[in-house]
Symmetry: C2
Subunit: 430 residues, 2 copies
């Protein structure tokens, strides 16, 4: 952990910089695999799943029996927790629905937006050591609320059993996923982007993944399908002051650090006196964590930054643009009002990041690496399009027509002008 | 113009396919230029503007005197038209603003979204034969309404005079653009993505352009900056029946065709009898158009498709997912209700596409090439992020805590669990 006291503004860019994730060097290899999937469909999926994952794919799609079996094998306590989390996520995302408002922009000219769900979406859930059922909820629940007709999910199966983790399947069913495929990595992204004999083509792909998944999403997004957002290592910034409980601060710091060796935890404060107590608490809690080694790696590029005053604190935080921002200082509400770059913000002493990771209702798929300057996290909007409509009356076009004709003429678009002129001429005739 | 009568479903994919815009082959060249701009800043901007545009760049930024001069040289009629269009665009986009609603997802757990403008945005306005002041309005007006702090615009200057077209500058001032730079093509995109001595770095880049601009936007969007949406040739689908005025239908068909040789105009109908009258009207109107040659090229890949019935008509239209959809049939309201894939929809006989291109209030920056299946057109949302906030009370965490602990434990994230456990332990102590 690096402690940076009162960095001058000239150093802010360097202090807030994230490691550059080089996926471009993978593009060539990943493109080749994607092209094979586009060309040869299921055959290529089987080939690469054998080659990359060491799994001989029998049925690509998870069967009805496996779904039922999964439901039986998930402990009741976890089933209940997943359902409670689902309900909170559903309530928050349902509240984001927009209503249709027709606006008369000038007399006889009526315009409106109609929200329409993306018909087919694809969710990617990574494999690895832990079953990421929480990510299933975060992607599938809003997709279902938006009204997506088909929600397809890909996730790698266990190497030895060939099965998808039962908690992942349970969450998928609880959230309303239509179909689940035993596919990981580039194969999953290619299958959903292009469609194969088994896997339907989707219009937008969501979900986290390793550098190969990220590269594959980047490539397919250039032409074939939309993606949720660019990916990078997860991160948190905690703002604390002398009123904060050092144990709470340390626990949030470590929550982020345990995500992966490339995660980044940051502490921003104007109060130098809290640095030592927080450091001590981090050491104390770290000693008891099973993922200690990985967490220590992550801490090695974590930073504690002491700023001169509250204005600097706010500006520095906005410059960093954290994925997660936890404000535990006494003035957390005032500070929150001044935050303009962040993914998700956690307010007060009793709002740990893990609440939002699982169950408060907000989404945990959030912009990392400073992307919060330009992107929102996944929300209901991510699953809909807002189609614009307009209807103009004869009288409306009579009034607005000359404006259109003048502008079209000056842009040298005569057919555009003509489309108005001949309608008005027709009007005059009647 | 190809006339396709009653295509079987097996042919729909081929009939609705768009030409594949190959920008990947440009990536290598474009990347090199972008890297030079990143490395050498203004010096590289000057070098490439000389090389590609044949312009010796003196001042990169448009000066206050040029702004004033522009205002004096734009005809009063056009000034008034631009202002009326701006006001309609402003009214419609202002109506899209969301309000903050706090939701208690479970007792003591409060979540909300706060809309915040992207602080710095960059607008690209192509050069070419016509001054695209309408695109200036479509991008800058919603940026201003969203509250973007800095709105930067790049547009190439005239080769001989070195000036930006006065109507473009007038629209920029009317819409609230902060600064305008005399830059086109790859240089413009690179300057806004990385920032140079003269041009500020922005967080999101908007606007149309040629294949080099498109490739540059694709490349910078992989790591450095967000972009509005993928680009492709413009297109319209017109739905008409025996009640439609063939002259109106033809005028909309031609409006689209005159955009460029690669534009696509489509007519979808269930009424074979209208094909001939519409064709005759197209011929008649085309004969009088100054851009006749270009328009004819575009018509060469336009299609008239006759479908079997209204269900097929709706499904076929949704499969095509047009950028612009004009419904001039008698049942236009019923059909409109069933449209799920389109950028912007124009309803009834007196709503030509040119109304939306200029002045109805809707945005004309729309998803082409079938991207309407996954993307919205530019709207107020394009310029904001929705940051999520959550605040949990002690009691709220007491109730929700066990759900979070159970889920974290099953995902093997002990520090996540611990962040709740120690807060609850502390609670119990007090």
């Amino acid at each position: 952990m690096e402690i940076i006291n009162y960095p001058p503004r000239s150093q802010w860019a360097a202090v807030t910089a994230r490691p550059h994730l080089d996926t471009l060097s993978l593009h060539h290899t990943v493109s080749e695999v994607l092209q094979e999937i586009r060309r040869r469909g299921d055959e290529a999926l089987r080939y690469y799943t054998g080659k990359f994952d060491g799994v001989e794919l029998d049925a690509v799609e998870v069967t009805a029996e496996e779904w039922d079996e999964a439901e039986r094998s998930v402990p009741a306590e976890l089933q209940s927790a997943i359902k409670q989390a689902r309900d909170n996520i559903a309530r928050f995302h349902a509240s984001q629905a927009m209503s249709v408002t027709k606006i008369e922009t000038s007399p006889g000219v009526v315009c409106w937006q109609k929200p329409v769900a993306i018909e087919r979406v694809g969710l990617y859930i990574p494999g690895g050591t832990a079953p990421l059922f929480s990510t299933v909820l975060m992607l599938a629940v809003p997709a279902r609320i938006a009204g997506c007709r088909e929600i397809v999910m890909c996730t790698p199966c266990d190497r030895t059993t060939g099965k998808v983790h039962p908690a992942v399947l349970f969450a998928a069913r609880a959230a309303g996923v239509s179909r689940v495929f035993r596919l990981g990595g580039i194969q999953a992204i290619g299958a959903m982007a292009y469609g194969t004999e088994s896997v339907p083509k989707v219009y937008k792909i969501f979900g986290p993944g390793n550098q190969y998944v990220t590269a594959a999403k980047q490539i397919v997004s250039l032409h074939d399908v939309a993606i949720d957002m660019p990916a990078g290592p997860s991160e948190v910034a905690v703002i604390a002051d002398a009123s904060s409980n050092p144990a709470f601060v340390a626990s949030d710091f470590l929550s982020q650090a345990e995500h992966g060796a490339d995660s980044q935890s940051m502490l921003f404060t104007v109060d130098e006196t809290i640095v030592e107590p927080v450091q001590r608490e981090i050491e104390r809690q770290l000693a008891r964590l099973p993922r200690r080694e990985l967490t220590e790696k992550s801490l090695s590029h974590s930073k504690i930054v002491v700023l001169r005053n509250r204005d600097e604190l706010v500006e520095f935080t906005n410059e960093y643009a954290p994925e997660h921002l936890i404000i535990q200082s006494a003035d957390y509400r005032e500070l929150a009002d001044r935050i303009v770059n962040a993914g998700s913000v956690f307010l007060g002493p009793y709002t740990p990041e893990s609440a939002g990771d699982y169950a408060s209702g907000t989404n945990h798929t959030l912009p990392t690496s400073g992307y919060a300057r330009a992107y929102s996290g996944v929300n209901l909007d991510s699953f809909i399009r807002k189609i614009t409509f307009q209807e103009i009356s004869r009288q409306g076009l009579c009034r607005l027509g000359p404006v259109i004709e003048t502008m079209a003429a000056h842009e040298h678009l005569d057919a555009h002008k003509n489309a108005v002129t001949l309608r008005l001429a027709d009007e005059n005739r009647e």
